[in-house]
Symmetry: C2
Subunit: 150 residues, 2 copies
DNA sequence: TGAAACGTAACTTTGACTATTACGATTCTG
DNA sequence: CAGAATCGTAATAGTCAAAGTTACGTTTCA
């Protein structure tokens, strides 16, 4: 999604779910479901009807990867974690607490790292690319020429 | 598994896959598959035949949660991560790099936190429990009386 | 020798996530 | 106003990896 938001910033007009779906090799309904999280937080707006679609409400400087992540987050970020096989076993309890503590530290580190990256920073490492996009020269995702065309 | 290893340390003789499976509410084959990772690293040994089963090869002081985690790790620890929808889109490339960087930092934090916890530390917070276990008074996982019995 | 264990391949089940279909509601344009 | 373009969302189906099962071979002890 970060990828999509960057494209949107350099794209005139709204981006339809259909267009974005092609960018992500997925389906417009999935895009709507996903973008809904961003809309709930006010980062984008959606419009119906012709000329409708999705628009950024703020510059890329004002969005961090953490913002995006939290807007989309559904479940835990980790594939591991404490279990509840025997909730009453005191050994398991203590083990779970130790593991949860480690995960909390990792989680905090992840959020801090994501918060450090503004979406505008993403292009910073690709100077040539940024210049091209600032000048309106269309950049295209392969196989989705539609996206930046128009 | 950390939970199981602690139990094993206070348990005379070997623990069979079947016994461990009951502790985890799972199946002996799954236990063997999982314990294999620990055996490969030399943290436990397995024996066949009567009196066979799993045994710790070292005291809990010499095992950290990181050791256990790395022994069992199969895939990524994260449920999120960079995609490869359009490998050739430079914007996606840069976005992926930024995300991968954040994940690497979180991953390092997780490993550091896990490394700080020795399995012997797990019982440290439950003094009364530790004393009971040190004195050989059987502690039992509910529904798995078998485990510490004998 | 026979029962107790592990080792492992093969197959099945489960569950979460993704994709699809369908249809209603809204909005723009001519 | 008609009609097409879009989003919103419920319901259903598909996908895939992890977990669970079954089956059977091998080893080891008494």
């Amino acid at each position: 999604m970060a990828h999509v938001l960057v494209h949107m910033a350099y794209h005139d007009g709204a981006a339809t779910s259909d267009t974005i779906a092609r960018m992500l090799n997925t389906n417009p309904v999935v895009v709507r479901r996903t973008m809904a999280g961003l809309r709930d937080r006010g980062y984008v707006t959606s419009g119906k009807g012709p000329r409708g679609g999705w628009r950024l409400t703020r510059p890329l400087e004002d969005l961090t990867l953490l913002d995006v992540h939290q807007a989309l987050e559904t479940a835990s970020v980790f594939t591991i974690g404490p279990t509840a096989d025997h909730a009453e076993c005191p050994v398991e309890h203590l083990a779970n607490r130790a593991i949860a503590g480690a995960m909390a530290q990792a989680s905090a580190a992840l959020e801090a790292a994501l918060a450090r990256v503004r979406l505008s920073d993403i292009l910073a490492e690709g100077q040539a690319l940024r210049v091209a996009m600032d000048q309106g020269r269309p950049h295209r995702c392969p196989d989705t020429a539609v996206v930046e065309a128009q």
